[in-house]
């Protein structure tokens, strides 16, 4: 971690990511005390004062107001007269929440199955590796869209485990499934090499069970790989969530997400470009900050693997 502390670029972008997270967490405070409106409250037929003039929040032709740079409609309104800044922060909460849960699902599945496949080898490895290949073979976005669309209307019902169609856990589940082979395969390879090492042989000779060896000997040595993957998966999960939501297969209306905000704003380009620009910029900043920070972490944990040129 000391190495990360010395990488000022990584630190700056890490701080930017933390700032975005904090801003999004404070969405309810902003909505209540600054914008005085909720994320789904419409104000289509209302007016606001801008530069001393009364202006329609949404014009009779349906064009929403742009940024007022004041508390109400700071970043403008959308076609339903909803405050873009409020929806941006709530959308960020949803995107980050989904990315965090999806990353957790990916990492749990990948660590569990990757370690099992790598350590057990043989038949178990064969079955699990083909499963990784099967999921890997589908382009991530296409698989995500297929699963997302299939589950968006009816939800997911697996007996004890039920998710209704509007739940944020649904896109998180889809993204978590889509990405797990991308982590499981390298972890399997790493586990495969670790099981041949002397300390694993020593544990085996001492009579440790396979479970004990995997938990006590293999997993601790996979930690640095896992840590490197976490921010990368977070960044990719945020991007995939935005893509799925844009296509109607992720976050379901009226819940905001950066992807749905961009989709809603597309038809009003070029007259109300803020509708696409604002969530788009936020998305780029978030993914960029996580990616640069992730590079810093990877460089710090594995200095030999520096592939990114330093600023």
């Amino acid at each position: 971690m000391r190495a990360v502390a010395h990488d000022k670029v990584a630190l700056a972008f890490g701080a930017l990511f933390v700032a975005i997270v904090v801003l999004c967490l404070f969405a309810p405070v902003y909505a209540q005390d600054v914008a005085h409106t909720g994320p789904d409250d419409n104000h289509i037929t209302e007016t606001v004062i801008v530069d001393g003039k009364q202006v329609d929040v949404v014009s009779p032709q349906g064009v929403p107001i742009g940024p007022t740079w004041k508390g109400r409609f700071l970043l403008g309104a959308d076609s339903n007269g909803r405050d873009v800044a409020v929806r941006l922060l709530y959308g960020g909460r949803n995107s980050l929440e989904i990315a965090a849960i999806a990353t957790l699902i990916t990492m749990v599945l990948a660590v569990l199955l990757g370690t099992l496949a790598g350590y057990l080898r043989g038949f178990a490895d064969g079955v699990l590796s083909r499963l990784f290949d099967l999921v890997w073979a589908y382009p991530a976005v296409l698989l995500g869209v297929a699963l997302g669309v299939a589950l968006a209307v009816g939800g997911l019902n697996l007996g004890l485990f039920t998710l209704h169609s509007g739940s944020l856990l649904l896109p998180a589940f889809v993204i978590g499934i889509v990405f797990f082979p991308y982590v499981a395969k390298p972890l399997r390879a790493h586990a495969l090499s670790l099981r041949e090492r002397e300390f694993v042989d020593a544990a085996r000779v001492m009579g440790s069970s396979p479970l004990r060896i995997m938990v006590g000997e293999i997993l601790p040595n996979l930690t640095s790989t896992i840590i490197v993957f976490v921010p990368l998966i977070v960044a990719n999960a945020i991007l995939l969530e935005a893509g799925l939501s844009y296509l109607g297969a992720g976050v379901q209306d009226p819940n905001p997400s950066w992807g749905t905000m961009i989709a809603d704003g597309i038809r009003l380009i070029p007259g109300a470009i803020h509708l696409v620009l604002v969530p788009g910029v936020m998305l780029v900043l978030t993914v960029l900050s996580v990616n640069v920070f992730a590079d810093g972490v990877r460089d710090a944990l594995d200095p030999k693997a520096i592939v990114r040129g330093r600023f």
Binding site: G248, R267, G271
Partner: protein
């Protein structure tokens, strides 16, 4: 004096000869209105027609092309407004004689008619055309199978012909027997699907190479999902069928799926006709209004926008909950969501449909602010506050925006609303499946023909079906059923005698709040500078009447 007289006589003869030749239908002089004839216009379409085969096509995009290509025994007058809803004889010499029991229609075919390929038209072609539309599965084939005697048996393969249709090629006589009197039956025969095609036309989709028909145009050069052309039919003149004009210009129809690009092309005069089914992007409307004021107009259509309220499911099985929705919806807001192309209203039957009430709205002025306080109070009284409600809607703008707004209103008056957005192509299939049992959602309906019975199928208990359910509110009201039974058989030509009863029925329906109507659609009539805007007819049933387009 004598010389002068002779000169005048000669001039008169020359003029008469010229007029006669014009009437005989040279393609270059076939205009009925005296406007410019010749040239080619580029027509843009946002969505391709579902089919250009008249036996299959059932979308407005298809009808726009096929109603001027395939004329039936009767057709609509080529006129704007109410005049365009009048049925006139098409391939039949006159409107049919109808038996006293209203079940038998007798037509006589005009003499000397030929298809666009020059082949003569026979009475038996009518029977073949109807059989073909049924066999191919025309989208509204139930209008044929349920009304014409023997139609269902033919559809189910129990007979090789339709027993209710008798034809005589020698006399041109065509007799159609119905199962029961059906008021709008002539409107059914005015659909392009009943526009005659030659006997022996392949019983398969000919959408890429449409069969010959009788009409001002013939369809050619079809490139699926990209373009097609309508060229003037060399065998058709304005005297072939009085009231049906020969076309003035050839038409190149191009599919442009991006509304922005479509509107910009017409604004820049690089294309000539904007598809009235598409909406001009809100950000372009001001520019169009200012730069193209002489070639842009909002045209009212006979179509309505609604939220259906399922009377068989909580919370809308409670009349108070339905009334609350009708009080709470701000129609002015929905008008803005529709880029201003919506005329706020509260009745089921739209403006322009006989039977549209003229009385005040029972739940407040649609052009004023809604009564949210009253709506909240009604929800509180009903004891249904906090009830989860799923709102269904289509994904295209502004359908999704309507649903976003509606969900926020439901939340504001005390329900707990969430949304389910489905791609428009699958929307009605999804909500029309009774197992889905949707509580509420968006519903839009445009007239198929100018008779209120067309709209009331949406509130007819017989329309509640396991799949393709049209009655999404699942209304089963004895009063509505008895009025439908009484008014349905009244012929469209006699609607004026029962307008009062239709109005009373629609007021009753509004009072019951079986639906939450919020307005009637307006559409853009938008052409390039090259087109004579004033001469072009916007037809109340089929939209832009391409046969009236002419270059300046």
């Amino acid at each position: 004096m004598h010389r002068t007289l002779r000169s005048l006589l000669g001039l008169s003869l020359a003029l008469a000869l010229f007029a006669g030749l014009s009437a005989c239908g040279s393609s270059s002089t076939g205009s009925t209105t005296g406007g410019t004839t010749g040239g080619t216009a580029t027509v843009l379409m946002g969505t391709p027609p579902d089919s250009l085969d008249p036996g299959l096509g059932a979308t407005t995009q298809s009808y726009e092309a096929t109603w001027i290509t395939y004329t039936g025994l009767v057709t609509y007058a080529h006129a704007s407004g109410e005049a365009g809803t009048k049925l006139i004889p098409g391939l039949a010499e006159s409107l049919p004689s109808v038996s006293s029991d209203g079940k038998t229609y007798t037509f006589t075919l005009r003499k000397g008619l030929v298809y666009s390929n020059g082949a003569p038209v026979k009475a038996s072609d009518f029977a073949y055309t109807i059989q073909r539309a049924i066999k191919l599965g025309w989208g509204d084939k139930e209008l044929l199978t349920e009304n014409i005697a023997g139609g269902e048996a033919f559809d189910k393969g129990k007979s090789s012909s339709i027993s209710g249709i008798q034809t005589d090629d020698a006399t041109g006589r065509i007799t159609v027997k119905l199962v029961a009197p059906y008021g709008p039956f002539l409107n059914v025969l005015a659909f392009p699907a009943a526009g005659l095609v030659p006997s022996g036309t392949a019983m398969k989709s000919l959408t890429n190479s449409p069969p010959p028909g009788v009409g001002p145009y013939e369809i050619a050069s079809v490139v699926p999902n990209k373009s097609f052309a309508l060229t003037r039919n060399p065998h058709f003149s304005s005297s072939t069928i009085p009231g049906v004009p020969a076309g003035h210009v050839d038409l190149n129809v191009k599919i442009v799926s991006n509304n922005q690009s479509e509107a910009e092309q017409v604004l820049d005069n690089t294309a000539d006709v904007f598809d009235y089914n598409d909406s001009i992007p809100p950000t372009l409307i001001s520019q169009v209004e200012s730069q193209a004021s002489g070639r842009y107009a909002k045209e009212p259509t006979v179509s309505g926008e609604y939220f259906f309220l399922n009377t068989k499911a909580k919370p809308f099985d409670n009349p108070l909950a339905r009334q609350a929705v009708n009080y709470a919806i701000d129609k002015r807001a929905l008008q803005r969501l529709d880029s201003g192309m919506l005329d706020p209203g509260c009745f089921f039957l739209p403006v322009g449909m006989p039977g549209h009430p003229t009385s005040p709205c029972p739940y407040g002025d649609p052009n004023a602010a809604p009564n949210l306080a009253k709506a909240k109070e009604l929800v509180r009284q009903s004891g249904l506050a906090g009830t989860p409600v799923t709102v269904w809607g289509g994904s295209r703008a502004p359908h999704k925006e309507f649903v976003d707004y509606y969900a926020s209103v439901l939340n504001a008056i005390g329900f707990k609303a969430s949304e389910k957005i489905v791609a428009d192509a699958q929307y009605y299939q999804t909500v029309g499946n009774l197992s889905t049992n949707p509580q509420t959602g968006w519903l839009s309906f445009s007239q198929d023909f100018p008779n209120p019975i067309d709209f009331y199928q949406l509130l007819d208990a017989k329309s509640i079906l396991p799949t393709e359910n049209h009655n999404l509110s699942q209304v089963d009201d004895p009063h509505i059923q008895s009025e439908i039974a009484a008014l349905g058989p009244v012929p469209s030509s006699q609607l004026s005698s029962v307008v009062g009863r239709w109005q009373a029925l629609d007021q009753y329906n509004a009072q019951k709040a079986y639906l939450a109507p919020f307005g009637y659609d307006e559409v853009p009539k938008f052409f390039s500078d090259r087109i004579d805007f004033g001469a072009a007819v916007f037809h109340p049933v089929y939209g832009n009447d391409w046969s009236t387009l002419q270059l300046k």
